[in-house]
């Protein structure tokens, strides 16, 4: 029986003189899970995370972290939480070591601990521990924020767009870090605009748009359930129009008639491919290549958000 570490129940938020950033959201996350919240700008991802972490007061609903209500029992709940914010907000004149030690103390732990060294080494910050934060590059600053969030050994980590404004190498590093943290048993909730990131890191994916959590699904199940596949036939001779005999599969012509594309439902019993190929052969339409591919989360996402728009 998986044990929920985070329960969000009926949480909504309307900012004063502002928009309704979140309509009623329910979410449950189990210990050890990695959940990606995917959504466009202004969807309400940061708002949701801020409510859980105690930075924004919800208009309604309740949140429980590690069995503690985040309002009534805020101290215990917050000790279990680590937060890496979206914005790069740092104390410019502090050293790396000082700011990470500060964070650990702030969350009620002694500043004298080998754990701090370990975190800094894990994030390749140990060599830079005496550097002032203002002298670090943007990517390094983001690592510092992660080190600060991890400093008090939280059980659940929130990463709000960890790879925004980060180069490819650092993004890969970040992914590795997330996997390593998961091996150590951490629960991680991250937000992102990038589908590849959700695909790479998450066990489950939640899609947020305009303040609504449209769905939360196992990543693989989501791909299988909503995933469309597509088959491209590269034709020897281009076609002007789809032959009437193929109309029941409603394929499309791409690439100026050089490609016949058929989109099908990957989870259906009968994909229709054998029949289509037989019909193509019957009509003596020659093709030199055949390719099928899975649609990515990106396609699924565009579909979903499009449907509700």
């Amino acid at each position: 029986m998986p044990e929920p570490i985070l329960t969000v129940a009926g949480v909504s938020k309307t900012y004063k003189n502002g928009p309704t950033a979140l309509k009623t959201v329910d979410l449950e996350v189990n210990r050890g899970e990695i959940v990606a919240l995917l959504g466009p700008n202004g969807a309400g991802k940061t708002t949701l995370i801020s409510i859980i972490c105690g930075i924004v007061t919800p208009s309604s609903g309740s949140v429980t972290v590690a069995g503690h209500d985040v309002v009534r029992d805020y101290k215990a709940a917050r000790r279990a939480i680590g937060l890496v914010p979206q914005e790069l907000a740092t104390d410019q004149f502090e050293s790396v070591l000082a700011t990470v030690t500060f964070s650990r103390r702030l969350f009620g732990r002694s500043g004298h601990s080998d754990y701090i060294e370990q975190v800094l080494r894990d994030l390749s910050l140990w060599e830079k521990r005496d550097a002032k934060i203002k002298d670090l590059s943007g990517g390094m600053k983001r690592r510092v924020l992660i080190a600060k969030a991890l400093a008090h050994e939280p059980e659940i980590l929130f990463l709000d767009e960890p790879t925004a404004g980060v180069d490819v190498a650092l993004r890969r590093d970040m992914w590795k870090l997330v996997h390593r943290l998961r091996e150590q048993g951490a629960t991680i909730i991250l937000t992102t605009h990038y589908i590849e990131e959700a695909e790479e890191m998450a066990d489950r994916v939640g899609v947020i748009s305009r303040g609504e959590l449209l769905l939360v699904e196992e990543k693989d199940a989501l791909m299988a359930k909503l995933g469309k596949r597509q088959m491209d036939l590269t034709l020897v001779e281009p076609l002007d129009a789809v032959p009437a005999a193929l109309a029941r599969w409603s394929p499309t012509l791409e690439d100026e008639g050089h490609t016949l594309r058929y989109v099908f439902d990957a989870k259906a019993e009968n994909t229709g491919i054998p029949e289509l190929l037989a019909a193509v052969a019957e009509r003596h339409i020659a093709f030199k290549d055949l390719e099928t591919r899975k649609s990515s989360l990106e396609d699924i996402f565009v579909d979903l958000v499009g449907q509700r728009a």
Binding site: C53, L83, P85, F93, F102, L106, G108, S110
Partner: protein, 253 residues
């Protein structure tokens, strides 16, 4: 009680002061020296004693408070305003700290710095005048009370302020005039009516007279009233801070 958390804030704030320690200490020493040259020697030699107290010594408590007011308000307000300004406040808001613990950290640090500066001025004053403090323990206690109260006030100001100019406007428009008009440099007894009575409505007059009483055992107003006003001001600021945190006013959306 999150003692580590309080300690973290206190250390952070003290480190911030530490980075500017020489300007922080040189400024009050130089200002005090200037005041003594002008008021103590140049003008003071023309002034008659107030009671048994030479004028040069008489102005020492007011001079100390003048700096302590502004240092306390400035440091405490900047301490909480800066995280709001840079965005690092997210960490404070998401930390397992109660309102009281947060305030102890920030206000404790600001009050400590004011206290140190106050004592530096006190020491500097010794170079110019003979000073015998009648009630040294009470004097220290009073200094602490005033420093803590004004740091609390500064903390509220820092939460309220939406810009740097707002941080400066209140000390400039309210505290400094009230201090000068509250008898920092003169005895209320020299004032003609109705100004004497008007001054009795200035709370700062009570703070200054109470503090002066710990030095010389003289006060223009009732000492108990002085203590009551000082403690009342501190309690009012404390209540304001607790209310601010409870409602999240200007801190949380």
């Amino acid at each position: 009680m999150n003692l580590h958390g309080i300690w973290a804030i206190y250390r952070f704030e003290m480190a911030r002061f530490g980075r500017t320690i020489w300007t922080s200490l040189a400024t009050p020493v130089i200002t005090t020296t200037l005041y003594f040259i002008v008021f103590g020697s140049a003008i003071g030699s023309q002034m008659k004693n107030i009671g048994d107290v030479p004028y040069g010594a008489f102005i020492v408590p007011g001079l100390m408070l003048l700096t302590i007011f502004s240092e306390s308000v400035f440091n405490a307000s900047l301490g909480i305003y800066m995280p709001k300004f840079t965005g690092t406040i997210y960490e404070l808001l998401s930390a397992p700290l109660s309102a009281v613990e947060t305030v102890i950290g920030y206000v404790g640090a600001a009050a400590t710095k004011s206290l140190v500066i106050g004592l530096v001025i006190f020491a500097t004053a010794h170079l110019f005048v003979d000073l015998h403090v009648a009630h040294p323990l009470l004097m220290l206690f009073y200094l602490l009370l005033v420093a803590a109260s004004f740091s609390l006030f500064g903390f509220c100001l820092g939460i309220w302020a939406n810009g740097f100019e707002q941080l400066q406007i209140i000390p400039l428009l309210v505290i400094t005039p009230l201090t000068f008009l509250g008898g920092a440099f003169y005895s209320l007894t020299v004032l003609p009516e109705p100004w004497r009575t008007v001054t009795l409505f200035n709370p700062v007059a009570y703070l200054i007279n109470g503090f002066r009483w710990t030095f010389f055992g003289i006060s223009d107003v009732d000492v108990l009233a002085c203590v009551a006003v000082t403690a009342g001001f501190g309690a009012f600021c404390l209540a304001a801070v607790v209310a601010i945190f409870r409602t999240g006013w200007r801190l949380k959306s």
